[in-house]
Every structure is written in C-alpha cells, then in structure tokens.
Amino acid sequence: MSIWTKHCLQWINFSLGAPAETGLRPSRNGWMANNGPLPHGRGSECEVAPSGILGVPMTHPSYIRHSASTCFWVWTLLTVTGCATHRYEHADPLDNRELHATYLSAVRDRYPDSCRLTQRIVVHAGRRDFDMTGYLFMKPDGSLLALSLGDMGIEMFRFQCDAEQCEVITKPVSFPVDPLYDGVIGDIQHLFARAGQSRSYLVRRGHATPCLVLQYDDGRLDEYQSADDCDFPARSLGVCGGKVVREVTYHSPMSYPGCSHFLPSRIVLRNHRWHYTMEITLLEVRRPQ
C-alpha cells in the first residue's frame, strides 16, 4: 500500500473519529512510515488511542480548523469510493434468559473445539482478486492457527492466536502489516474464535430476529443475528470505536461430518476499514481421530 493511500485512509479515519492506525506517524518533515509491527493482541484494532492530524488531539482548535477544510474533500472521496463506515446503532436490550443462553451457546460453540477447517478464500481488494486455500486449526484451549496457501502450495500467510493475542507469523515480504493486524486478524477472530472474556446480552431491532451482542473489555463489540431456521447466525457485524468495521453474511448451511449442527458453507465478509471483501467457502471439517 503506497504512502499516499495510507495517508488518505488515515485522513478518512481521523475525520470520522475512528481510532488512529499507526501505519503512519507525524513528524516535522511530514508523514513517516512506521517500520515496526503494530502492538498486537486481541482487540488491537480498538486499543490505539485516537489522535488527530499532526499528532495533536482531535479537540484542539488547530485540528478542528484544519479538519474543517478537509471535510469537504474527504466526504467527496467517500461518496466517490462508496467506502464509508457507519456508526453502530445500539438497539433496545431484550430480556429472555432462555433465548440468551441458547444464542450464546450457538455463537460460542459454532465450530467444534478441536478441528481443522479447509476453505477456499477469495479476497477482492480494489480491482484485484487474491485466491488462496485456507486452513484453520482450532484447539480446545481456544487457540487457533490460520494458514493460507497460494498457487502450488506456497505459504502466503500464517497467523497464530491464543487467548491473549494474535501474531503474524508469515506474510509476503512486501505486504504491509497494518491491514493484517487491524483487518484480517480481527476478521478471523470475529468469524471463528470462541468468545472469550465478554459481556453478552440480547437486543431486538424492530421486528427482526433477536441479536446477541458480545462486548469485550478492549472496546470491541460483535453482534450476531440468528437465522430463523438454523442455530448459526444469518449475519453479524463487528464494531470498533463506535463504527461498524465489518459486516458478515452466512449462506447455505450444510451438515459436516463430526459437527453437531449445520455450518455455513459460504461466508461473505466486508471489511469497511480496509475496504476489501472476503469470500470463504468451507470445503471440509476434519475432527481429530
């Protein structure tokens, strides 16, 4: 990702009040690239403190004056690209203990605690497509390893997550690290990780099926709307800093050997922060012998 593109994304995030991404840091000579990895860990996309352009707080008068003149261009850009994130609207809580327990169990145990998932993954970013074979290894202690292979079996990405944090083990040499920590790892946690330390409650949005909300200590929030005829969610969204950073739809539930309930054979995730779409097709679920 070029410095200019990073700069534009940073301006968009600043203007919308989202947490700053530390891919760039201000200096007297302008923007400089951060060469080190972001501080990593579950919820890292929400742990970075917000700061404005040139490193001043967003409430500082100089920032407000500067940002006012950029708002027009930022919103023009957003309109043209159609890539705006939107604020998360909190819904009214719903008191139904039995339903709450059922939904919570469905989300936390949506995948077997020990298994290997084989997936086909296609990522659309800009006008480019990247297709990979994905393997997700899940262990009973909640840790997981995500591995993606390119053509002829070459390793492209490897992520390791435990209960505390996630790490990028492998990535293509020239690939920027920010979209991985801030984007892809958050996507994997939202889709597959067992919900750890979180507060959960039910909400209802109009006449729609009740939704389960998981609120984490690091500021993240995940909302899962259950399908009418299936234990698995029909759709979900991930929230950070009050903004919806990802939206997910789940399709074509199927029965897989060794699984107690149906699993979605196809998942479509839209990451609004990093502007890519990920299509995941579940090919196989393998349980340990």
């Binding site: 290997r116 084989t118 086909r120 296609v122 970013a125 006008r127 480019r128 497509d129 990247f130 297709d131 074979t133 393997y135 290894f137 292979l149 390119g150 053509d151 002829m152 079996g153 070459i154 390793e155 492209m156 492998t170 293509p172 040499v173 097709t281 090919l283 196989e284």
Partner: protein, 226 residues
C-alpha cells in the same frame, strides 16, 4: 510469492565417470546415501543433453499430487490436479482438489480461473508481473533450458540411483522464502518424478507426478486466457 513455483521436466541419463567425490548426504535430504555431485563440466554437459532431449517435446500432460508437510504439525495438506504444457511456452496448472481452479500462461499473458458450481469465473489476480516471470521460467525448464535459471539459482546435480537437480536461490528476497528446490529424476525413465520445495521454516512442499504423457494431442482451449 510465486517465485518459488516449479513443475516436472524430462531429463537424459548421464553416465558419471568413477572416482567422483561423493556429496555430503546430509546436505541433500532427498538423496540416497551414495550420491555424487557432478563437477561443473559434467553439470554443463548434463544440462546440454537435457536441452537436446527436451527440445523435441511438444506437449506434456501429467497428474500431480501436491503435499505440504508441515514441520510443526503432523498434518499433511494435500491437493491434486493436472499439469499441461504446450511448446514453446504455454502452461496450464489445474487444481481439482480441494477445489477446482486453473492458472494459465499463454502468449505472454497470465489468467486465473475459479470453478463455481461448474461455471468458470475469471479472477483479476494481483502480482501478475511476478507470475509471468515465474511461469516463463517454468516453460523454459520444461524445454530443458536452465541457462536463464542461473541468474536466480545456484544449480547442482547429484547422481546416484536417481538424479537430483538442486536449485538454491541467489537473491535475498527468495532466500527468505525458500531454501531450495529439488527435482528428483528417475534414472531409467528419464522423467521427473518429484519436485520438492524446501521452505525456511522447515515445511516442505512435495509435488509428485504420475501418469505422465508426452506429445499427446492437447486442446488449444486449455490455454485460453479469456
């Protein structure tokens, strides 16, 4: 990310004169114990014979079994498919398991296709420039031409009951990804039976070729990029 790909080639039998210094078996994990490394002159002679022999190959079709053996896990990740080649420089690498896809290189262009419910969907892959260079190199290998390879790899040939052509990257970027590519060649049939890509983490990819057919009729449509 595509620099390290490789496919099968056919090679000629080379009779190695007695008295050659045996190679260290530990340096060549694919090699049987009694292997001998060819001298530079023998290697050049060997490669010349390979080129002469393969220049007559017009087409190739071979099924492959691709296994990724992971050092940290007991799991072996397996994929299967078919490789097609048409001289002088067309390649189709078609995957059938765990899902269907095809990577095609033809007339200097690269195309990637996915099969979805038996319908073909064309992708716009990133890294086309790198893919082109890699697939061009593979096409040269299939014609027995290793001269261009020397810019990117140090090349050694081992001879025992099999031949092993070992390619070690010269450039830093590729060295960070792979340690070596080894082509294991059957001394009797002169065919490449196996390609081993050794990654730095200890993982290795082994591509085993079966049911090879040389100079068979291949449909031109296999190499269409549109």
């Amino acid at each position: 990310m595509f620099l390290q790909s490789a496919v099968s080639i056919a090679v000629a039998l080379l009779i190695v004169p007695p008295g050659q210094r045996p190679a260290e078996a530990a340096n060549y994990p694919s090699a049987p114990i009694d292997v001998r490394e060819l001298s530079p002159q023998e290697t050049q002679s060997f490669l010349t014979r390979v080129r002469q022999k393969l220049s007559s190959m017009q087409t190739l079709r071979a099924d492959f079994i691709q296994e990724r053996r992971m050092g940290a896990f007991i799991d072996t990740l397996t994929a299967k498919g078919t490789c097609y080649f048409m001289a002088p420089g067309r390649i189709r690498w078609e995957l059938r398991e765990p899902y269907r896809s095809a990577l095609v290189f033809s007339d200097g262009k690269v195309a990637k296709f996915l099969y979805e419910d038996d319908r073909l969907r064309k992708l716009n892959p990133g890294g086309k420039g790198v893919m082109k260079r890699v697939l061009q190199m593979i096409a040269l290998w299939l014609h027995g031409d290793f001269e261009g390879t020397k810019e990117f790899f140090d090349l050694r040939v081992l001879r025992g009951s099999v031949f092993i052509l070992r390619l070690e990257p010269r450039h830093k970027q590729m060295k960070e990804i792979i340690r070596a590519i080894e082509l294991t060649m059957d001394a009797d049939s002169n065919h490449i039976k196996k390609v081993t890509i050794r990654e730095n983490r200890g993982d290795q990819i082994v591509i085993t070729f079966v049911h090879e057919e040389l100079n068979v009729d291949l449909d031109e449509a296999l190499f269409a990029v549109d």
